[in-house]
Symmetry: C2
Subunit: 333 residues, 2 copies
């Protein structure tokens, strides 16, 4: 090898060893995205905020991107996946609660009648949430979630829930991080329900997961410190709550936000209202064949006002049917 060649080799080897991500000048960072408007908008935004000297350049420390989870990073039909967790836990805990056989909404769940169980609305759901999420330590709950997510299967696809994540969004997360972004989950789901698997599945560490929570209490049990999960709501990270959760956890405004429902609208408004370049993107569930199609009339993942506001303000709307080559990682492009 000549000097120049050898030097180049060493340089590349050093960068590689140091884990430096070189700009993807050749490879497509978003291979599961069609070359339609949303992909072009994403690439243009990233270039704009990362190019030194650009009028819209944003320092790395301020490159914050927030993602809703249910319906944005993974599927949410026919129910939020956390609801399946609740029902599975009710069944699992039933032997310790003989009274549940005649007590709603538990009795309906145990009979396999989810519809009746949910007929009690928020109150019924709240009761089941507390019965399955509280009165144990944070470590116990983490183990319960980890064990469940490792084995539970979706009723329709028969796949693990962690395989029902959206491949194009995984690529987007990686693309943002390769460009210096810190990626956060900002979900109405339970913060401690997501943390045990979010790092492995999305590359998002626990400290970058924001979600709804119940209160916890510090206790010394036989001299051993524990955090006990209390049957008391602490924070609802949905709608108006999302900007509140973002401020509480991050303390600065995101420059990019990603969602799929009206529950994400306030997060987008908050993101869009900052100075400089901003990026807001709605995932629109338009693919009845490969996933589910729902929006303005849906009982969950309701997307109505958000769709109007996205149109009025020029936010990016992804049609899953038209803009994504594949939906799930196991599918072939």
């Amino acid at each position: 090898m000549g000097t120049m060649k050898s030097a180049t080799y060493v340089l590349l080897a050093a960068l590689f060893a140091a884990g430096i991500v070189l700009p993807a000048f050749a490879a497509d960072p978003l291979p599961s995205w069609n070359d339609t408007a949303p992909k072009k908008a994403i690439v243009a935004f990233i270039k704009q905020v990362t190019r030194q000297g650009s009028a819209n350049f944003v320092p790395v420390a301020e490159r914050i991107a927030t993602f809703d989870n249910d319906g944005t990073l993974w599927a949410e039909q026919p129910m939020y996946f956390q609801a399946f967790f609740v029902f599975d836990r009710v069944k699992h805990l039933a032997p310790q609660h003989p009274e549940w056989k005649s007590k709603e909404p538990f009795a309906s769940v145990l009979r396999g009648d989810v519809k009746s169980a949910l007929a009690g609305g928020e109150h019924a759901l709240g009761e089941m949430l507390m019965a399955t999420h509280a009165c144990m330590t944070t470590e116990e709950f983490e183990k319960i979630v980890s064990d469940w997510i490792a084995t539970a299967k979706h009723p329709a696809t028969k796949r693990p829930y962690t395989e029902m994540v959206f491949q194009p969004m995984l690529e987007l997360l990686a693309y943002l991080r390769a460009n210096g972004f810190k990626t956060y989950i900002v979900s109405g789901g339970g913060i401690e329900f997501m943390r045990p698997w979010a790092e492995k599945v999305y590359g998002i560490p626990p400290e970058q997961v924001i979600g709804s929570s119940i209160k916890t209490k510090f206790e010394l049990r036989d001299g051993k410190p524990v955090l006990v999960r209390l049957p008391e709501l602490n924070f609802v990270d949905d709608k108006d709550g999302k900007p509140v959760g973002i401020q509480q956890h991050i303390g600065r405004r995101p420059i990019a936000a990603f969602g799929n429902s009206d529950g994400d609208l306030q997060m987008m408004q908050w993101t869009a209202a900052g100075k400089g370049a901003r990026f807001c993107l709605y995932v629109h569930h338009t693919d009845a064949e490969r996933e589910w199609a729902y929006d303005r009339q849906s009982h969950l993942g309701h997307l109505d006002k958000g769709l109007d506001e996205a149109k009025a303000r020029g936010w990016t709307v992804v049609s899953m049917k038209d803009d994504w080559k594949i939906i799930y990682p196991h599918q072939k492009r």
Copy 2:
């Protein structure tokens, strides 16, 4: 240049350009620390958890270190510095509140009688906190704090509060970060009181600041989204609250914790109870000449049980007088 020399040069240049921190094999990372037991314990701990193949090796993602602020990273006498902020704000806002002239605790503050103002205890302090911290947007509050901290001076030293940070602790923060640690503040002080200056002063970004908070509310004001600070307590990040705040914000247990009072004891117990190598350190205020000396009997920064537990459990206790060459950055070593 020969091939090898040239290659080495390119390698170093590449690492330098990439901002890679090489192990400080020559320079002392803690130059303001005397070569006494605490410094040796810190260095030994860092080596233990960062050396590949070590029985106590900890992956980078789990290298979490939490620091109390008042009395640990900066001074806290004769009052928490945030209390000076409160009093300054009361004086500043007095023209808009003519009723304060005859209403305690405000009347005492306006007469310059801090002792009487504080005689009302927690209730009086809470009233002043809400009057000066709430009923404005998060952005308005951030500007008020930034403006205050840029100009306010400590009554005894006449120095800006941000110059009353402990130089040895700044070195420790940098040393931990150079070894892959994420450094957090976990303080009883207001989270939004610390965030505007913590990044510049400590190198700790807003998302790594945990503190006490009041509730906020999302609102659209003439179509512009704002977060309004409400006169309602949200969370007290002190004592039992510290492990709770750590779990809420970080979602994993620190492997190192640093404090100076009994208010930090639960954080240390929580940290120490994890598996593998753990490090807990108390800053003991023993230097009446260069700073202040106080511990078991002090009205603030009360360190009593913590000192006993540190001794019983072999935690590191820093004597500011004996273990630190200098206290503040402006002093010469």
